[in-house]
């Protein structure tokens, strides 16, 4: 398989107004093969957008380089950019123009024109199912419709590679499903390579051939989903949502010592939502256990005897969330 994207020691440092610096991306190395959907998964602020911005030529790397189809994004940026389409997290469209006018403008910027451009715009409007609204201004569209035009604008030049930066943010489940299906279609029917960033584990699991998990500007794990979940073994994850309540350390010791199959326990205490508020986010107790369903009754009994009020219980089989939790000690949504 041919390498479509390769990054070497990609690093980005920003200066703060007080003179200090912050390292947003700390030496990322990636290799993405042609025709695969590769996801960058990580919480907000992990460095996903900065990484994708460097690879797409929006942000100059402080150090390192990336190649697209063999062209360096820093030294041969024009050649590299011709191979890629870009779908940013924001709706990067002119709200005063119609869907057709937006697509026609960005098409002209790729050097397209005349009938070829008209045909391509028609195809894409059909592809994102907005042919009937093509002459309406973007600012009259719903969030989901805007997202679809945003995706279409990234596909105008029929690129072999497309970057999608959290393309489902802020849209309803129906439109989200449509976007995810579109992404799969790009790979399956158009043999495109897709670099997809998300903070939603479910999306990464559904779409990706391979996943890189990012946290604090670093890639902490990378591989297929099977390869990643194997890193946390065969343990199930039992998640107990608890009210604004602390739990004594002795309770954890009892669960871990006396319940068969329990390997470790993580406790995220209740969190005050703001300084002046008496409202707390619920605490989350996560118990890792082999054969989690078997261990569940005994754990419930221990918690009940300790006076812990349980609001909900979920039993999760090994997934990317578990990998992230195992590697960072935090949930993806934290």
């Amino acid at each position: 398989m041919q390498t479509m994207v390769e990054t070497r020691n990609l690093r980005k440092t920003y200066s703060r107004p007080d003179g200090s610096t912050i390292e947003a991306v700390k030496g990322v190395n990636l290799e993405i093969q042609q025709g695969e959907i590769f996801s960058l998964l990580g919480p907000n602020g992990a460095g996903k957008t900065t990484t994708i911005s460097m690879i797409s030529g929006l942000v100059e790397p402080t150090e390192g380089d990336a190649t697209i189809g063999g062209f360096s994004i820093t030294k041969q940026s024009m050649e590299a950019k011709r191979l890629m389409g870009f779908v940013p997290q924001e709706i990067a469209l002119y709200p005063e123009l119609s869907a057709r006018q937006n697509l026609a403008f960005f098409g002209r910027m790729y050097g397209m024109g005349g009938k070829a451009l008209r045909r391509r715009v028609d195809e894409l409007l059909e592809f994102v199912d907005l042919a009937d609204r093509q002459n309406d201004r973007i600012d009259t569209f719903s969030g989901g419709m805007k997202r679809r035009v945003n995706i279409a604008a990234g596909l105008l030049n029929s690129p072999p590679l497309v970057y999608m930066d959290e393309p489902t943010v802020g849209i309803d489940p129906q439109n989200r499903r449509r976007v995810l299906d579109t992404v799969k279609l790009l790979r399956d029917e158009h043999n495109m390579t897709v670099l997809y960033t998300t903070h939603l584990m479910e999306e990464a699991q559904e779409l990706s051939d391979r996943v890189a998990i990012m946290d604090h500007g670093e890639i902490i794990a990378m591989g297929t989903q099977d390869e990643l979940t194997q890193q946390v073994g065969e343990e199930d994850r039992l998640e107990f949502t608890i009210g604004a309540q602390e739990i004594a350390e002795a309770v954890f010791e009892r669960i871990q010592g006396e319940t068969p199959g329990v390997t470790r326990i993580l406790f995220n205490p209740p969190e005050q939502l703001d300084e002046d508020s008496s409202v707390f986010a619920p605490a989350l107790l996560t118990v890792f256990a082999k054969r989690g369903r078997t261990a569940l009754p005994q754990i419930l009994q221990e918690l009940d005897s300790a006076g812990v009020e349980i609001q909900s219980v979920a039993v999760r089989e090994p997934d990317l969330e578990a990998v992230f939790l195992a590697l960072t000690g935090r949930a993806l949504r934290d």
Binding site: V59, M78, Y94
Partner: protein, 423 residues
């Protein structure tokens, strides 16, 4: 180049598709130009408060000096060049001499209001009660004599009177001697008597205040030319003010483009940053020129004069718009919100425009305010427009102003391009 034009056309399409932009671009500037132009015309403040008049004294006599002095006294708006030129070179002589040929050329091209030539032998002719011709060159209609010709006529009338007195007195004397059959006065005695008479009449006319003097007075509003003068101030003035409003408004548009990520999307396309920046500069330069064109079209419709050098006029327009575009790009990196940008547009436009003489001619404010006013690029543009409109100047006359505007633009662009935020 094609990418740059595509971006410019797209941005212009967006600008003109927003109905909210039209009042600021079209309706309000047009109304203000008409109202201010008409108002200035009513109070007679639109025309120049000083008139540039070339004067060549080929006689260099005491009597020609007297004529010049009388001319100054008759009309204090006349600046007699090169005699009364000031440190700022109001006469536009560029430290070069003013031979007759050059002075004639200046008058014929309208760079001066008039040329007066006092011929050699002027004093002798007056003393001898002989005919003398003073050449007067001007583009103004001789049937409707302007301030300069009226002043000259008044002064010449006095000079003629002084000359006429000994002539008439000599003839009268001859008649009296003849009637009374007295021995005739001849030779030096007669000449001496008549010279004494002439000198006395000269003295009396000099000591007495001039019977005629001219000043710029309030108009009764019936004169069309006064109305034109109002527009020669209001059209460039309001044009410059609204160029500032329109072009500086680009600060908030650039901010919005970054916020809505269309700028970043452009950067992901196979075009260079220089092309994007060039296109954005092109957009606001075009809008500024369109703004000027609208206001000057109104001026043209009501009969405003544009001078005789359209290229120089376009050069001044382009230099000012470029300067304000550069100011927009120099300030844009520091703007954090659209509210801040809008406030700054109002603050800059409403301070730099009146300071630079967009609302009233700078000539009517004290000298120190005129100096301070030239902090504003508007002052340089207005100086140049006045040179072209009121004095029929050419490209050479406005080169200093165009140079200052372009140099300022270069400095501001250097700051703006260096600090431009793409990310």
């Amino acid at each position: 180049m094609r990418s740059i034009l595509t971006i410019i056309l797209n941005d212009l399409q967006i600008f003109f598709s927003q109905r909210g932009n039209l009042p600021g671009l079209l309706v309000i500037p047009v109304l203000l130009t008409l109202v201010v132009g008409w108002s200035i015309g009513q109070i007679g403040g639109g025309g120049p408060t000083r008139l540039r008049v070339d004067l060549i004294d080929l006689d260099q006599s005491g009597m020609s000096a007297q004529l010049i002095e009388d001319l100054r006294a008759a009309n204090d708006t006349l600046v007699l060049c090169p005699l009364d030129n000031d440190a700022e070179d109001f006469c536009r002589l560029d430290d070069e001499p003013l031979p007759l040929e050059r002075a004639i050329e200046r008058a014929r091209t309208g760079r001066t209001s008039a040329l007066i030539v006092i011929p050699a032998g002027y004093a002798t002719a007056l003393e001898n009660f002989e005919r003398v011709v003073i050449d007067y060159y001007s583009l103004s209609d001789p049937l409707q004599p302007g301030l300069v010709l009226q002043s000259l006529n008044a002064v010449l009338q006095r000079a003629s009177t002084a000359s006429m007195i000994p002539g008439v007195a000599g003839a009268l004397l001859d008649n009296v001697i003849s009637a009374a059959q007295l021995p005739p006065l001849e030779g030096e005695t007669r000449d001496g008597f008549l010279r004494a008479l002439y000198l006395r009449s000269q003295q009396l006319l000099t000591e007495r205040p001039s019977p005629v003097s001219f000043r710029v007075a309030d108009s009764d509003g019936s004169s069309g030319s006064v109305l034109d003068n109002g527009f020669s101030q209001s059209a460039p003035g309001m044009g410059s003010l609204y160029v500032m409003f329109t072009v500086l408004g680009g600060m908030s548009v650039l901010l919005r483009e970054r916020r809505q990520w269309t700028l970043q999307r452009l950067m992901a396309l196979p075009i260079t940053r220089a092309q994007i920046l060039g296109a954005k500069i092109g957009v606001y330069f075009t809008l500024g020129i369109v703004q000027y064109a609208i206001v000057f079209a109104v001026g043209a419709a009501v009969g405003m004069e544009f001078g005789s050098s359209p290229i120089a006029f376009l050069a001044v327009m382009a230099a000012f718009v470029l300067c304000i575009t550069a100011l927009t790009f120099a300030l844009a990196p520091w703007i954090k919100s659209e509210g801040q940008a809008n406030g700054l547009v109002l603050l800059l436009s409403l301070s730099l425009a009146p300071l630079g003489g967009a609302w009233w001619p700078l000539e009517i404010v004290p000298e120190f305010m005129q100096t301070i006013g030239h902090i504003s690029p508007v002052a340089w543009a207005m100086d140049a427009f006045h040179d072209l409109i009121l004095y029929n100047g050419g490209f050479r006359d406005v080169l200093p102003e165009v140079g200052v505007l372009l140099a300022t633009a270069a400095v501001l662009f250097a700051v703006g391009i260096r600090g431009f935020r793409y990310e």
